[in-house]
Each structure stands twice: as structure tokens, then as C-alpha cells.
Assembly symmetry: C2
Homo-oligomer: 383 residues x 2
């Protein structure tokens, strides 16, 4: 309430600038706007709009439509302006166990390109970061976007990640626990870098452009030997007090139950926790009628269903999205629906990930775009 009577000329200028930029952005892909259009759309006076637009032209965020190559002035029309979505770029990066994925977009989220690289599961942190830098360099080279055009970078990676981008716990990747990943990447990119857990990035992605568009309360499970989950509550990512929300894979530690690596074993020897090929083989053998493999897979699905049910009972989401390995497992959806119906009054919908392997990098891009949004288009504490 204190703000109602406050006056701050620089804040006012910033608000006006944001209002004009938003009006122009909403016209992206449609006809550019005149100063009169902008005055009408924003409720600001024409001289105010004119001053604001000059500032935005100087900052490179707005272009005069007639100045564009290929555009032709018609007679002596009023000057028209458009938002320069190409004035900067956002980058999304997945740093995973077996690969680095990158995706680049302009300031409105329109894709410019993507590069994915395989990486060894036993590679250390330095090698993994080197591969990341090389993948980004290749992406920028291919798209012709200069490094300096990056306005924000989002990163999704396995583990519990601090707000500053330090990996508090990341057992899936060698040398990951304790790594100041945000700091390392910021010194490389020289722009804001947002690092988050891979399942958190994945649920952002599915909410933005995947299976969860239009849903405000979503649990996304990245099923693996140890499942992780990301949750949207009321349309916002729920990270938890210590960034560890959704780490439901730790529940089996309590019961002194079998580790996931033992669950899927068909010969008593645990699988290597990151050996996706071995897991895929167990699933394939199970489908082919191998009884030991079928029992192993049943144990795996049972554990997954239990973990997801615990999340659902805790959070009561409207939708559960299943991704990760299990996204290749149609067999997991029916048991999940059946068991959720047993323990929930109104079970959530259950859907497979639509973005599949692109989910984490896409969600990381969304993190970067949210930062751009906050830098360019937000005023005060509104969203």
C-alpha cells in the first residue's frame, strides 16, 4: 500500500518503457505499430510514447519497420515500430548423464537451433563442462548468433541444486556433488545463468509446450532407477525449502528395501545405476516373455507406482506426467492409473511426456526466457 503514494521518476520511466515494449511484443508477427497506435494501446500520452520509443531504439530493442531490409515505405506514412525479438537470445542447456543438449531461441522463445552431444557416463565434471561449452559454441556457430547476444542461460541437471547454482548433491554424475556449476557457467557465459534440477526443468517444459499445457498443478516424474520429480503448484515451480522437493526416490532408504539397481536385476547382481542399455535389455526380455525379466520389471514398476502415489497423495495434482525412461514404457501407465484409483478419491490424469528427450533442455530454455521476461517486461512484483 505504501507504493500508492510513492513517486519515483526513474521507476515511472521504466514502467512506461515496459508498457510500450509489451505492446510492441504482442504485435510480433503482425503489423508494426505507429506512435498513435502505441499511445492508444498503452494509455500513455503521445510525447511520452515518443520519448520511450527513442530510448528503446537506442537500446536496440525496437526497430523502425521501414528501416528493415526489404521493407518499402509507402508514400509518407507515419513511422511504425516493432519489437526486435532478435535483439538478444536465450539458451537452454541439459547437462545429463549421457548427453549434453542445447536449444537456442530469440527473445520471444522462437527456436533458432539445437545441438545434442553424447557424453560418457563416467566423464568427470571438467570434461562434462568442456563438452557443454563445445556444444554451445557449435550451436552459436551454426545459427550465426554471437556469444554476446545471449541474455540468459538456463541449465537443467540431475541433483539437488542450490539457488546460486551449486550442486548440493548429484550422485548420478561423477564429480557433480559440491560443484559450483552456476559460478563456473557464469564466468563462461557472462550473462545470468539459472541452474535447476532436471525434473524441475522438465515439468516447466511440459507445462510450457508439452503434456501439461493448461494445467496449474502438475507432477512430472523423470523415471529412472531412482525417480526424481518436479512439481508445479498453482502454476509455479515448487522447489522446496532446500531445493530437494520431489526427491521421492530416497523413500526406499527408509524401509531398508532393495535398491533400484537390485530391483531390476535378473541374476542377483545389481545393475550399474546408469546403465540404460542394461535396463532397456531387461524391459525387452520381459516383453519377449522372459519370466525373470518380467518379475524384475514388475518390481521396478511397483516401486515407481508407489513413489508416484506418495507424491500424488502429498500434493494432489490434477495431472501426472511420466517422462525419463518410463516414457518409453507404455506398460507403466496402466498400473499407475489403476493404483492411483485405489488410493485417491479423484485420481489425477496420467499422461506420457510429449517432449521426451527434449524436455530438460526445453525447460532450461524456459528458465532463461523467464529471466529475460523479468529483465525486459516486468514491473514491480507482478508476474
Amino acid at each position: 500500500m505504501g507504493q500508492l503514494t510513492g513517486r519515483d521518476p526513474s521507476l515511472l520511466r521504466r514502467i512506461n518503457s515496459t508498457v510500450v515494449l509489451r505492446a510492441l511484443r504482442s504485435e510480433v508477427g503482425r503489423a508494426p505499430l505507429t506512435l498513435s497506435d502505441l499511445a492508444g494501446a498503452t494509455g500513455l500520452s503521445r510525447p511520452t510514447v515518443e520519448g520511450v520509443v527513442e530510448g528503446l531504439l537506442d537500446a536496440g530493442l525496437v526497430a523502425e519497420a521501414g528501416e528493415e531490409p526489404g521493407e518499402v515505405r509507402r508514400g509518407r506514412p507515419a513511422r511504425r515500430f516493432r519489437f526486435r525479438a532478435e535483439a538478444g537470445h536465450a539458451l537452454g542447456v541439459e547437462i545429463g548423464v549421457h548427453r549434453v543438449g542445447t536449444v537456442l531461441s530469440d527473445l520471444t522463445g522462437r527456436r533458432a537451433g539445437t545441438v545434442v552431444r553424447g557424453i560418457g557416463e563416467s566423464d568427470g565434471a571438467d570434461e562434462r563442462l568442456k563438452q557443454t561449452h563445445e556444444a554451445v559454441a557449435e550451436l552459436l556457430r551454426r545459427t550465426g548468433v554471437p556469444h554476446t547476444s545471449l541474455r540468459a542461460v538456463g541449465v537443467g541437471t540431475p541433483g539437488i541444486v542450490e539457488a546460486d547454482g551449486t550442486v548440493r548433491l548429484g550422485t548420478a554424475l561423477p564429480g557433480w556433488t559440491g560443484l559450483p556449476l552456476g559460478e563456473r557457467l557464469r564466468s563462461f557465459f557472462r550473462c545470468p545463468v539459472l541452474v535447476d534440477n532436471d525434473a524441475n526443468a522438465a515439468v516447466l517444459a511440459e507445462s510450457w509446450q508439452g503434456a501439461a499445457t493448461g494445467s496449474e498443478d502438475v507432477v512430472m516424474v523423470l523415471a529412472g532407477l531412482s525417480p526424481g520429480a518436479g512439481s508445479m503448484i498453482g502454476g509455479r515451480l515448487h522447489r522446496g525449502h532446500g531445493g530437494a522437493a520431489g526427491e521421492i526416490g530416497a523413500l526406499h532408504l527408509l524401509g531398508r528395501e532393495a535398491t533400484p539397481e537390485h530391483l531390476l536385476s535378473t541374476n542377483g547382481e545389481p545393475l550399474h545405476p546408469l546403465d540404460e542399455a542394461a535396463v532397456a535389455e531387461v524391459f525387452a526380455r520381459a516383453r519377449g516373455g522372459d519370466e525373470r525379466a518380467a518379475r524384475a520389471m514388475e518390481r521396478f514398476v511397483h516401486r515407481l507406482v508407489h513413489d508416484v502415489a506418495a507424491l500424488v497423495l502429498a500434493l494432489d495434482p490434477e495431472l501426472v506426467v511420466v517422462g525419463g525412461w518410463a516414457a518409453g514404457l507404455d506398460d507403466v501407465l496402466e498400473p499407475l492409473r489403476r493404483e492411483l484409483a485405489r488410493c485417491c478419491l479423484r485420481p489425477p490424469r496420467v499422461a506420457l511426456s510429449q517432449l521426451g528427450g527434449a524436455a530438460v533442455a526445453t525447460g532450461a530454455l524456459r528458465l532463461a526466457l523467464d529471466q529475460v521476461e523479468s529483465d525486459l517486461f516486468s514491473v514491480g512484483d507482478e508476474d
Copy 2:
């Protein structure tokens, strides 16, 4: 952003009125304010403040300090005004298995009185509502507050409760499932009635005045044969998409595991699910060295710990508050802390309920006060 240029005289009057009322309320218990004080505190002009104060005097929400019985005017001082916290009242009601609890406060939350009545666990909905009405009538009679002074009523009760106050599922109370509780109570109270799950009310209460003050991310477990939980996320109650968040007691349905009533049995016969006396006896015998009782209690604690751990992994709160039966069980805290340390990187603090048996009614009062707050003191979409 559209609001920045909007003008609405009635909205402006309402904002001004709210600003003045807030300034006066903040002075409750301190010296009343003059018109000049109010102009200074709000940034409004003196004539505006004067007009607003006249309106608030007419509405009975503000009193002139000199008009108060017992107060003496000193010479010819400027008129001074105060918020009339007694201009209305808020009521919190617990409708539980074994009792109805009520608590009354003025508009600032200051307690006026409380009445608690025992009730039979097998009493039907009509009888339970009759007892509720009688408890409220007794409370109003004792405190001398007229029925018409109630500005809002909050109610906490076991079960999954819809936004309109209908009990979607309430197996603990006979005739509760499907009961349009909100509608029934609104026709009786003739003011806004907010109905919520008892664990949700309890976590509100502990956050307001109990073990969770100052914590934004809290899980409150009402431990019973089937535990329920209420959660605060970022300082807000998390009800879930269908109002069923925290119903973690249903998790055992999945595993086809023993029902809670069997867990605590010492002779193979299940306990009656609402028989608190029988449960207390098992606990007492366990403490007295009875081995069968000790094993039963161990099973109960183990289940409780597992359910709470699932909530903690899903939500990653900073604090877990244990209430309900287990609030009498110091024995439950140590196993809970130990097991959470096994599965959480940074385990939450674990504390016993401070409000004990008063938690649900106190949280229901908070629900009512939030409604009062929203009616009298809020503007637009701020909190």
C-alpha cells in the same frame, strides 16, 4: 499493467478507506490518531481523510476516542479516532470425531472466549450440527456477543472438503461424506462460512500462533490411526487440486498392507478406528513393558514415519509439526528425526504441536479472520 491508466472513483474511495482503516488498526492498543496523524501516515490529503473517516464512523468501524465511556477530553484537543476491533467478531469451529470446539475473537483476533463440548463418535450429522449450534450459542451467550456480530466463521473438520464446504469424503464421522456442510452452516450463521480439512486448519494455526511461526514451508501431521497432513508452501496453505493434498494415510492402500487398525492390534482383532481410549491403552501398556503392545506401537510409529517421510520428500519443508494423538507421544519424535536424516539431505526440523487440542479451532478462527481481512483490509490482488 492495464490498471496503471485506469480510473475508478469508487475503487479509489475504497482504497483510501482501506488505507485509513489499516493505519488505525495498526494503532490498536496505542494512542488513537488525529486526522493530521492519519494524513501523515497515509499520504492522503486531510480533506480526503476527513471524508473517509466520516464514512467509517457511519459504518461503525471507527470510533472517536473521546466518545468512549470513561475517556475524558483534555481541553479542546484535536479529535482522535480508533479502529473499533469490537465492531464485529470472527468464530473458529472444530467439528471433530469426539468433540466440538469453538473460539471467538474480535476483528483483530483477540480472544473473547471458547467453548468445547464432547460428542459421541457415532453421532450422526444432524446431531453433530445440533451440538455445534448449541456450543456456539453458549459461547455467544457467555461472551455477550450478539449472533449478528459474526462477520465470518471458519470450520475445520476431518475429510476432504470442497471449496464450497461440501464434505467430499469424510469416513471418520458418520453421515459426513456428501454433507453440504458449508451450505448448512451458512443458513445458520448468515455470514461467510469457510470450511476446511482439520489438518489444513491445524497447520494454519501452528503457523499463526504455534510451533511454526516464522516458517513458510511447513508440513503439519495430525497423527491418528490414519494420519492426515496440512501443508504451507511459501506461506500459503496448499490444498491441492481436489482439496485432498496431504491425505498420505491412503498410501497403505497401495501395498495391500495392514490397515492402521490392525497395526495397533495386540490380539489380532482390529481396533475400532475411532477408539482413542483403546489406542491410548496400547501406548500405555507399551511404555509399561508389555511386549505385544510395544511391537504394535513400533508398527504404528514405523508406518507414521514412512508416511511423514513421503510427505517430506515430496515437499521438502523446513519444518514438520506433529500433532493429533502423536503430540502425546514423545516417543515418535526421535524415530522420525532419525529416519528423516536417513533419506533427506537436509532433514527438516521436527517439532511437536504447541497448540495441541486447540489447533483445529484456532486454525478455523484464522480462516474466518482471513475472510474479515479480505473484506475490510485488502485492495485488489495484494495480500
